[in-house]
């Protein structure tokens, strides 16, 4: 159980990394395009500050939204695994992608189409974040399998 929790938190961090990095890089890309003086140290500083800021310093806790989204999606995947025959890494990857899809596509529909995650305002940005969710899910599917195997043994 402890390892499952650790693996879940790692999966959350993977998803959060994509959320923060996509937001940082899209902001930096635009700032650079309007000739703002972006340097290497600014890029590194913004990536780190966004990873921390978006986890703990926002007006609403994005990390909590990601945790909730992944937890629900992984739970549904867990149920489905008992019903249908599918490789667990694939179904958890799909679940992770679905969680991020819900966060970046469906959640704004409840808030007057406001994209509260700046990095998700474009189609490309949404795609990157959903891909991040899929990678997080794939990781969880791969690592948690070992946990289950250990539990059975």
């Amino acid at each position: 159980m402890l390892r499952t929790t650790v693996v879940f938190l790692m999966a959350t961090l993977i998803a959060m990394f994509f959320v923060a990095a996509q937001t940082s890089l899209s902001n930096l890309w635009w700032l650079s395009s309007v000739d703002m003086p972006i340097t290497g140290s600014i890029i590194i500083s913004m990536l780190l500050r966004d990873l921390i800021g978006m986890s703990v310093a926002g007006a609403f806790p994005i990390i909590a939204v990601v945790v909730a989204g992944l937890a629900i999606a992984f739970f549904v995947a867990h149920i489905l695994l008992k019903i249908i025959s599918i490789e667990r890494k694939i179904i958890y990857a799909l679940a992770g992608g679905a969680a991020l899809f819900a966060i970046v596509v469906l959640m704004p529909l409840a808030f007057y189409n406001l994209d509260l995650i700046a990095g998700a305002r474009t189609l490309l940005g949404k795609g990157i974040l959903i891909t991040g969710g899929m990678i997080a899910g794939y990781y969880f599917g791969a690592k948690s399998k070992k946990v289950v195997a250990n539990e059975k043994s």
């Binding site: 978006m54 994005i62 007057y112 700046a118």
Partner: protein, 369 residues
């Protein structure tokens, strides 16, 4: 309930009157009207007749302190969603001669109904109806979001009209480009035509209405007697700004800002940049500034020439003392009423506060005699 009878008005007056004595000035506050649905803006037809917008779409009349039960007829249908709805009501400078009233509001597009825009119309007030309504401004391009409309208006001394147009939340980067109305102040003649001396009239690709750019969600606009234009705008999480606005200038959003995104992300690591203007004051954390008035009345001589800014968070009014175009002192006032949506100077010199929400109130601040 949208109207008050005289009895409940007098009882309310008794219950809600408060006397405040400070070492500077003695004033009393009294609830004049309550039961307004998200009041947003106030215009004074006369000392005894006020017009008040309700964001849900009605233009209401207050006569002799009584909210009239029937809203003004003829107001166009508005998109009441998110931060949108019926916003500013403004009288033409020659209203006594032409009876022209200007309204700003969000509206759905008639073709692409999932998209919307900021619209400004003018109409002639005849009795309790607006007639001869004409659209004088529609923001471009359309937006999918229902937030950050700006929607404040003021007439300049030359009779031209300034309109604030917010960045639409999702479209903040467009505030730096002149081919759209996101994050701009636009200037039009009183009939919507373009003044011949607008700053970007001859700039290729620029919309000719644009007067200044690089703004976020502009919620307060005041023009001083000497022509100085004061504007305030919501920052993101922190970084609300009070600016002195000049034509053709870039106010920086979102390339420079003192705030961070609601998500906690950095919008820009820069707070200043050559070619971009600095605010004369900014607030971190945010106060969520809403309406603003420049006090010119005689009821409170100590306040003459000061700016009063309604603040939604935590809910108060900021009195800003000015020395020319510089702020020299800020005093927090009227923090007992919750979120204040608008503050206006009445013809008799009192201040009128409009509280935010579904049971919005108009509160008069007047001198103790």
């Amino acid at each position: 309930m949208k109207s008050l009878n005289l009895g409940s008005f007098l009882i309310g007056l008794f219950l809600h009157s408060t006397l405040i004595f400070s070492n500077e000035v003695a004033y009393k506050t009294e609830v004049v009207v309550e039961g307004l649905d998200n009041p947003w803006s106030i215009a004074f037809v006369s000392e005894n007749q006020w017009l008040v917008t309700e964001r849900s779409g009605d233009l209401r009349t207050v006569k002799d302190g009584i909210l009239q039960s029937d809203p003004v007829a003829g107001v166009p249908e508005v998109l009441f969603a998110g931060q949108g709805g019926l916003s500013e009501v403004l009288l033409h400078p020659k209203f006594s001669e032409n009876r022209l009233v200007y309204l700003s509001f969000s509206e759905s597009d008639s073709v692409e109904t999932k998209l919307n825009r900021l619209t400004v119309v003018r109409g002639r007030l005849e009795g309790n109806s607006l007639v001869d309504i004409k659209t004088i401004f529609g923001s471009h391009p359309l937006r999918k979001t229902a937030a950050h409309y700006g929607a404040r208006m003021k007439f300049m001394a030359d009779g031209t009209l300034l309109i604030t147009s917010g960045d639409g939340f999702n479209y903040r980067e467009k505030a730096q480009f002149l081919d759209n109305h996101f994050g701009k102040i636009v200037r039009v003649n009183d009939d919507g035509s373009i003044p011949a001396d607008n700053p970007f009239l001859n700039t290729p690709g620029a919309l000719p209405e644009i007067w200044s750019y690089g703004h976020r969600n502009l919620q307060g606009l005041v023009i001083a007697d000497d022509g100085t234009v004061f504007e305030h705008e919501h920052g993101p999480k922190g970084g609300d700004e009070l600016n002195v606005v000049e034509p053709g200038k870039n106010y920086g959003w979102p390339a420079i800002t003192y705030g961070v995104d609601y998500s906690g992300a950095i919008i820009s690591p820069f707070t200043d940049q050559p070619g971009m203007e600095q605010p004369i004051q900014y607030w971190v954390p945010s106060i969520a500034p809403s309406g603003m008035t420049l006090y010119r009345g005689d009821m409170f001589p100590m306040w003459k020439g000061d700016l009063f800014i309604a603040a939604l968070v935590p809910g108060d009014v900021r009195r800003i003392e000015l020395d020319g175009e510089k702020t020299i002192n800020e005093t927090i006032m009227f923090n007992e009423f919750g979120r204040i949506r608008d503050v206006a100077s009445a013809p008799d010199g009192s201040l009128i506060l409009a509280t935010d929400g579904e049971n919005g109130k108009l509160i008069r601040v007047s001198a103790v005699k």
